[in-house]
């Protein structure tokens, strides 16, 4: 692997969400800059919402853990919101 590569948080969430759902073409990630950091708003087909949240919210938590680790390397704060 070569040098330091900057992560792309929007692409990260989009890629994971597309892998999880039945209708990847309906996945959209909106980037909203707020005072405390950047919010990534994830939108999926209504029938896919459960798949990105997971049992007891485990899938969403796993995405947030990954986002937390990746954004720490960028020294920026990102959060994930799933729109229903």
């Amino acid at each position: 692997m070569t040098g330091e590569q900057a992560g792309d948080m929007r692409a990260l969430i989009e890629q994971i969400a597309k892998a999880l759902v039945d209708e990847p073409e309906q996945v959209a990630v909106e980037v909203v800059e707020e005072d405390g950091g950047t919010v990534l708003e994830l939108k999926v087909a209504p029938s896919d919402v459960g798949k990105v949240i997971g049992k007891q919210g485990r899938t969403a938590r796993a995405m947030r853990t990954l986002l937390g680790a990746a954004s720490m390397k960028l020294h920026k704060r990102y959060s994930l919101e799933i729109l229903e």
Binding site: E4, R58, A62, A69
Partner: protein, 178 residues
């Protein structure tokens, strides 16, 4: 039941991880093996797909009880739509974390067994994943004078070790004053 097409599943995991590692900017490499030969002391788990991660960001994967490693594993399993009872068929590992954790759990189990035997009082473990609870149950199976069960809900489930035929003293029923 086995994963229907392991090669295809391994390829999907590879594609998934390649994207995640690049997009997250993580300095990680990984190796994916299908039906990997496992060391004898690890015969308690027989993954059909083993993903071994390494590289400068390995410590990041293992922080807070390997939270990130387990998150990647969960996302891969969800992506493959693996039912919960087949989750042990995929195993993500890094720096031998799995076998070290196994040793830790076995040691904790034998300490707990001693304690319960001496005190006659149940011992509650910290909450664990189903996979880790299973290791504790298996480690204590050979102790005929003890029994184990899982209690609690969802992500807060934990193992309780108690003396065989243990009856909690007036926990559910109100205490009567003699």
């Amino acid at each position: 039941m086995a994963i229907p097409d392991k090669i295809a599943a391994a390829k999907r995991i590879n594609e998934f991880l390649r994207g995640v590692v690049a997009n997250a900017g993580l300095r990680l490499k990984y190796r994916i093996s299908v039906d990997p030969p496992m060391a004898e002391d690890r015969d308690w788990e027989k993954p059909e797909i083993l993903v071994e991660l390494s590289g400068p960001d390995s410590p990041l994967l293992l922080e807070r009880g390997a939270e990130l490693l387990r998150s990647l594993e969960l996302l891969a399993m969800e992506m493959l739509r693996l039912p919960a009872n087949e989750h042990e068929k995929i195993c993500f590992d890094c720096m031998n974390h799995r076998s070290m954790r196994l040793e830790e759990l076995r040691m904790a189990a034998s300490v707990a067994a001693e304690r319960v035997r001496k005190s006659g009082v149940p011992y509650k473990f910290a909450p664990m994943s189903s996979r880790e609870r299973r290791i504790v149950h298996l480690a204590l199976r050979e102790h005929d004078d003890l029994q184990t069960e899982s209690q609690g809900e969802g992500g807060r489930r934990f193992v309780v070790v108690s003396p065989k035929n243990y009856r909690p003293a007036g926990r559910s029923a109100p205490k009567t004053i003699p």
